[in-house]
């Protein structure tokens, strides 16, 4: 065989070494006969407590490494463990003399069959129950959680079917791609992997078994194809296929995937993960991590460390953004947010600008200073005056320096309104989608406002359009940039740089490489016309 056809999930095409996952041992049998119903009930309760502990632990780790989709899946698993219908069936079986293993396996098997008979999306939920059955049986046997083993870098993982828990571990392990004999595109395993930008092909049939571990394969999620002729897929080697050096749209427009960092060390991690630069260096983290604002020399060193990691790229350093949920240590009274806070403390602001100018001259990369929480054009003018003064001081003192490019964050409705004027005054705009959503919707910080609310989508569209008209590049450095569907929408609007957490760089690169710009633009147009959040959410499910 050279080609197998299945159902593709997500986007992207990769080549790599095929690795079969071992089949889980789902046998409910155990040595010896069951003890009394009371003893079996105790064993059931102990195993359930252990499974809950395992799920919670995994959920915490998944929340960080994989994100919300994985966290939700594991929370649902926990609900099923305490479901009254499940408890009744286990109780009845144990009363009838079954061992806990058989009682649990049978109860879940009944539900698995029932879900599959119902069909549709309900059938896809049967894999959640298989996952639970595996966890429960391991807990009863006293075994450790199943490991996905040592996978070679850039592996294309093959499995008969994939349970959501294993998908969470694979997603965190950064595999190149996944192919399964069975499964559905609406299964939780597929959703988790898709959310991480991992290309997946499911439902490849029993024929998948003819592919041996170690074989070089190509996997194309768009075409729903697994092939033993990898050159037919990309022609790229495995390393390039995993994280392309440079990504772009299908028509060849370059896209940059950069990283959000808070220190020089994090810049190094970002570099390792394949970031194309730093899209957001949160300079206030230098102060929040220590006792206070570092002096000019210490700041210069931190900025140079980041610039040296990206000798051929841009590093966007945001000036201090204290206030709100990031109060300056030892600050007295209310400090205004963002650039207003900097202008209210002119000595400290001047010191930071001097550090940025010195770093721009010393560091290898190209420095852009980005002003946070801009609400007035005057603020940009005032910073320019301070920058003039800072460069004059450095010149007078004979200190090598270079004037950095200036950018602004668009994270307030005021900045959206002023976007055309701002774009004509600076070198780049940065969308801060977290704050922008909150301010557009008028919600508090902990309300977790949705970026897919139409008012937010339209605000983003207007800001990007204003920048595009002015010929100024726009980056997005909010959490939304790491969401695969939302990333497509941003590209559709005209965003050319997505700055994400260092760990999300490979997945975002895979997600965006080869994206169809005209399809993304059509998506953006429809999303702008949508009048409810659920309409926007539905549209995003069709993201190219």
């Amino acid at each position: 065989m050279t080609d197998l056809r299945g159902v593709g999930v997500g986007t992207g095409a990769v080549t790599g070494q095929a690795v079969w996952l071992a089949r889980p041992d789902e046998s409910p049998e155990r040595d010896g006969s069951p003890s009394s119903p009371d003893a079996e009930r105790d064993r059931f309760e102990r195993a359930r407590a252990r499974t809950v502990e395992e799920l919670r632990d995994e959920r915490d780790r998944a929340a960080v490494a994989v994100g919300k989709a994985a966290e939700e899946v594991l929370a649902t698993h926990e609900t099923f463990l305490f479901d009254p219908a499940f408890e009744e069936r286990v109780e009845d079986a144990i009363d009838d003399g079954d061992a806990a293993e058989r009682a649990v396996a049978r109860a879940l098997e009944d539900w698995i069959e029932s879900f599959e008979e119902t069909g549709g999306k309900t059938a896809a939920r049967a894999d959640d129950l298989r996952d639970l059955r595996g966890r429960f049986l391991r807990a009863l046997r006293g075994e450790s959680p199943r490991s996905v083993g040592d996978l070679p870098d850039g592996a294309v993982v093959l499995a008969d079917r994939l349970d959501p828990g294993t998908a969470v571990r694979l997603a965190a392990d950064d595999v190149a791609g996944v192919a399964t004999a069975e499964g559905s595109r609406t299964g939780h395993a597929a959703i988790v992997l898709r959310s991480q930008g991992v290309p997946v092909v499911v439902d490849l049939s029993e024929e998948l078994r003819t592919v041996e571990s170690g074989a070089r394969v190509g996997l194309d999620a768009v075409a729903g194809l697994l092939t033993l002729d990898p050159s037919a897929v990309t022609g790229a080697g495995p390393a390039e296929a995993v994280v392309a050096d440079a990504v772009g749209t299908a028509s060849g427009t370059p896209l940059a995937v950069t990283a959000n960092v808070g220190s020089g060390r994090e810049s190094a991690v970002a570099r390792e993960r394949g970031a194309d630069g730093v899209g957001l260096f949160r300079s206030e983290f230098l102060a929040l991590r220590s006792d206070g604002v570092p002096d000019e020399d210490a700041q210069t060193e931190a900025y140079v460390a980041a610039l040296d990691r990206f000798p051929d790229a841009e590093v966007a350093i945001r000036t201090f953004d204290f206030g709100g949920d990031k109060p300056l240590p030892d600050a007295e009274g209310d400090v205004p947010r963002g650039v207003a806070g900097s202008l209210a403390t002119p000595d400290r602001h001047r010191e930071q600008l001097r550090a940025l100018c010195r770093a721009a001259a010393r560091g290898a990369g190209e420095l852009t200073a980005v002003l946070p929480h801009v609400t007035r054009l005057d603020e940009v003018a005032a910073v320019r005056d301070h920058l003039d003064a800072a460069t004059d001081e450095l010149a007078a003192a004979g200190v090598p320096h270079e004037r950095p490019a200036l950018g602004v964050m668009v994270e307030t409705p005021a900045a959206v309104e002023l976007a055309p004027e701002l774009a004509s005054r600076v070198a780049s705009l940065s969308l801060g989608t977290n704050d922008l959503s909150r301010h557009v919707l008028g919600t508090t910080r902990d309300a977790d406002p949705a970026v897919t609310e139409p008012a937010v989508v339209r605000a983003i569209g207007r800001a990007v359009a204003a920048a595009t008209d002015a010929g100024v590049p726009v980056r997005c450095c909010g959490e939304a940039a790491a969401d695969p569907a939302f990333a497509a929408l941003l590209v559709g609007f005209g965003v050319t740089e997505l700055s994400v957490a260092p760990d999300a760089v490979p997945a975002t690169k895979r997600r965006l490489d080869g994206i169809d710009r005209s399809e993304a633009a059509a998506l953006a147009e429809r999303a702008t016309a949508a009048s409810t959040k659920s309409e926007v959410d539905s549209l995003l499910k069709e993201a190219p």
Binding site: E72, A75, T76, T79, F80, D83, P84, A85, F86, W111, S114, F115, T118, G119, G120, K121, T122, A124, R125, D128, T186, H188, T532, K533, S534, D537, S538
Partner: protein
């Protein structure tokens, strides 16, 4: 006995995560709440039974409850079912 007919608005229908939201809401009441669809009845407190109903988005179900807080329980469960978007 309180009864209310409600259309499931969740885009994904009543599967797993939305079922979990319904079960969590039903757990707040003493009344025993049921959801009937296409001749099958599920306990609102059981996400497994709710998921097995296989209710798709836009389809109608009947919520019933008996007991002291039946009215409030039916209202709460119906509200979760009628909510748009995924939880």
């Amino acid at each position: 006995m309180t009864e209310r007919r409600v259309t499931v608005a969740r885009e994904t229908g009543l599967h797993a995560r939305p079922a979990r939201a319904v079960a969590e809401s039903a757990a707040d009441f003493d009344a025993s709440v049921t959801v009937e669809y296409d001749g099958e009845t599920a306990r609102a407190a059981s996400a497994l039974e709710l998921t097995a109903l296989g209710v798709r988005s836009g389809e109608s179900v009947t919520v019933r409850a008996a007991g002291d807080d039946a009215d409030r329980a039916v209202a709460a469960v119906a509200a979760v079912l009628a909510e748009e978007g995924d939880p």
